[in-house]
């Protein structure tokens, strides 16, 4: 990190964005050898370089991998990331919870790019461990205020008409919950890593409810999991009929066990706890059930001692994922600020980035799809002179909601609410590139 490349270097913005995160370690390596990425990029940069150093040992002699056959096609029948990416994994903060069966493991946002979270890196939150359910033994029951209580097999669900594919973010309501009283965890994996964004394949929940025939008195749906937490949440019927899905695939393959295999509920834009995994039962009723996860938990205690309940929607939020404490700046000159934004109320319309702690803002470039209730990627290409930065991002959605500062949020809610902390994050980038989670005022 103490190595800085010269000002003439061609920066990483010349690379396709998809390879940026993966190239961090390679750039560090090249830089350590006094060989910037630009050395390979073209003649003009090379001219200045050639005077300073001899031939790059990664070019002369010709590398091993260009001379010897590599592994055959089926060495990994289910492919794995490169061995050089082995640190890109979910991580837990053990002191957060008393048991690993009711705990959380965070998405390594700092190392990811684009908008889709790879299945194996999607954060995991269990309340009773990971249930392993034989798909042949899987059953989904619908009952309560319906004309025909029904039982479905997984095959039944996969034979249903009207299958859809939809990308949605899933954010735990407690994401950033450790930060209410001040900067605490040093890394966006831990401050913001209870989010993922994948493509779901499934059947609209409405299709199943219509098959059972919801009675006029029905106003709420209780969704229940088959795991050892037998997780339950009450969902307003209106939402259930509008856009919820009963999903059996994520990013093109069967759900991962830790994401609810074989079937989970998808509740677009609403807090992750409602997306019941290992979905076994849907009950229609005329009132909410006041379950533990909507009373003791997932209610927002405000400063006056009163609590908001049924705060389902996840407000617009964003975070710069690079630079961040786990992804420090390694080079002066051209750099790419990369981050994600999302809103449970709609589509991300704009993201602004500040380098001076929120005094001045520049609108970032939204790159790739900006879909409703899905993660959106933004970039800001910039030249870094090596000065100290206070990097922030501010998301806006198509309802006109603007992501508030942490202090604006605290002014309304106090610091005890745990959930729904969507305040603007600040990363302090020191002149050596090291980056820290800070609060500003």
């Amino acid at each position: 990190m103490s190595q800085h490349s010269g000002p003439g270097q061609q920066g990483p913005e010349k690379m396709p964005s998809g390879t940026r995160a993966a190239s961090l370690s390679r750039r560090g390596f090249l830089s350590a050898l006094g060989m910037g990425a630009g050395a390979a990029a073209g003649g003009s940069a090379l001219a200045g370089r050639a005077l300073a150093a001899g031939p790059d040992p990664n070019i002369v002699p010709v590398p091993e991998w260009s001379k010897m056959l590599g592994a055959g096609v089926n060495v990994n029948p289910y492919g794995k990331p490169s061995m050089f990416e082995k640190d890109v994994v979910r991580r837990e903060v053990e002191w957060l919870t008393a048991s690993r069966e009711s705990s959380v493991s965070f998405t390594p946002l700092y190392a990811l790019d684009g908008v889709i979270t790879p299945n194996g890196l999607c954060f995991v939150r269990h309340h009773g461990g990971e249930a392993e359910i034989d798909p042949d033994k899987y059953r989904l029951m619908i009952h309560g205020l319906v004309d025909k209580p029904l039982v479905f097999t997984l095959e039944d669900i996969k034979r249903m008409p009207g299958r859809v594919n939809r990308a949605y973010f899933l954010e735990c309501a407690a994401n950033s919950g450790m930060e209410w009283r001040g900067a605490q965890l040093n890394g966006c994996q831990f401050t913001h890593g209870m989010i993922h964004n994948v493509f779901y394949t499934g059947i609209p929940l409405k299709t199943l409810l219509d098959m059972a025939g919801v009675q006029a008195k029905g106003k709420w749906v209780l969704a229940e999991g088959a795991d050892a937490a037998v997780m339950t949440r009450s969902i307003p019927l209106e939402k259930a009929m509008k856009d919820c899905l009963v999903a059996f695939a994520m990013n093109g393959e069967a759900l991962r066990p830790e994401q609810g295999y074989p079937v989970r509920l998808v509740v677009p834009g609403w807090e992750g706890n409602m997306w019941v995994k290992w979905l076994r039962r849907l009950k229609v009723g005329d009132e909410p059930w006041q379950q533990r996860e909507e009373t003791s938990k997932y209610t927002d205690l405000l400063a006056d001692g009163r609590s908001r309940r049924f705060t389902f929607v996840m407000d617009a939020k964003s975070v710069v994922t690079s630079p961040s404490p786990q992804a420090p700046l390694k080079h002066k000159g051209p750099n790419v600020i990369s981050g994600i934004a999302w809103s449970g109320r709609g589509t991300i319309k704009r993201v602004d980035v500040s380098l001076d702690g929120g005094r001045n803002w520049t609108t970032a470039r939204i790159e790739g799809p900006a879909m409703p209730m899905a993660m959106t990627r933004f970039y800001l290409d910039f030249d870094w002179a090596g000065d100290e930065l206070m990097v922030q991002s501010r998301a806006m959605d198509d309802t006109g909601y603007v992501q508030p500062t942490k202090n604006e949020l605290r002014a309304v809610r106090g610091t005890n609410s745990i959930y729904h902390n969507n305040g603007i994050q600040t990363w302090l980038v020191r002149s050596n590139g090291e980056t820290e989670n800070v609060e500003v005022g």
Partner: protein
């Protein structure tokens, strides 16, 4: 949605289905098509015994409560045997396991302690949750009477019922928890209306900005002395 599947059938798309699949498909095609006017022929009726096996939720009005009863005294015995190792003899929480009693008057403080007595709005939630998810690792192992007894004991630990109290299906809906009136529906769209600003400031938005706090944990793998979390 269903209409389009029907249209596919009508258009003779069934002939595109693989040979082995064809007999089964052809067999079910006729009744399937007929039923489609109301609902697709998928799934089957749920039997009453099946519903009873999974239908374990309990509501504040008492809907879902099984027959049964249990006393504070019985509850103490069951609790000591099944719950106290994690939650402490008096619900005070052993180590980092959840606290179930006390905390009254702490909700406005810096460190609110949210328990059944201090925070929870409904006693039915305790019955429902203990029945579905506790004891942790051996859930759904308690009888209805044992669950009533445990809830009676938890209410007593929170000074909400006397020592000789017997909880039953009949008197359950009468149990009121003190913090219930302090819950209200999500009002962000009115109380936080200021966050919907059409044109947020872009230039010279504040005076000089200073760092006011730094992450307490500089190592991403927290150590033993790290502060106790409040993730829930």
């Amino acid at each position: 949605m269903w209409k389009s599947a029907e249209a596919l059938l009508a258009a003779g798309m069934a002939t595109l289905i693989g040979v082995t699949a064809l007999p089964a498909w052809a067999q079910s095609a006729a009744p399937h098509q007929k039923a489609s006017a109301s609902a697709p022929a998928l799934g089957r009726p749920a039997l009453p015994e099946e519903i009873a096996a999974w239908n374990i939720d309990v509501r504040p009005d008492g809907e879902g409560l099984p027959e049964g009863h249990g006393s504070v005294k019985q509850g103490e015995a069951v609790f000591l045997q099944n719950c106290a190792t994690c939650h402490g003899e008096f619900g005070e929480g052993a180590g980092r396991w959840p606290v179930l009693a006390g905390g009254q008057g702490t909700l406005k403080s810096d460190r609110p302690e949210k328990t059944i007595g201090s925070f929870w709005p409904y006693a039915s939630t305790a019955f429902d949750y203990v029945r579905r998810a506790m004891p942790f690792g051996n859930n759904q192992s308690l009888s209805a009477d044992e669950t009533y007894a445990i809830v009676a004991y938890l209410l007593n630990l929170n000074d909400l019922v006397p020592e000789d109290f017997v909880l039953s299906k009949e008197n359950f809906p009468k149990v009121q928890l003190p913090n219930q009136p302090n819950f209200y529906e999500d009002d962000r769209e009115t109380t936080e209306k200021a966050f919907w600003k059409s044109n947020p400031c872009m230039k010279d938005c504040s005076g000089p900005v200073h760092v006011t706090a730094r992450a307490q944990i500089l190592n991403v793998t927290p150590d033993e002395d790290a502060p106790k979390g409040n993730l829930e």
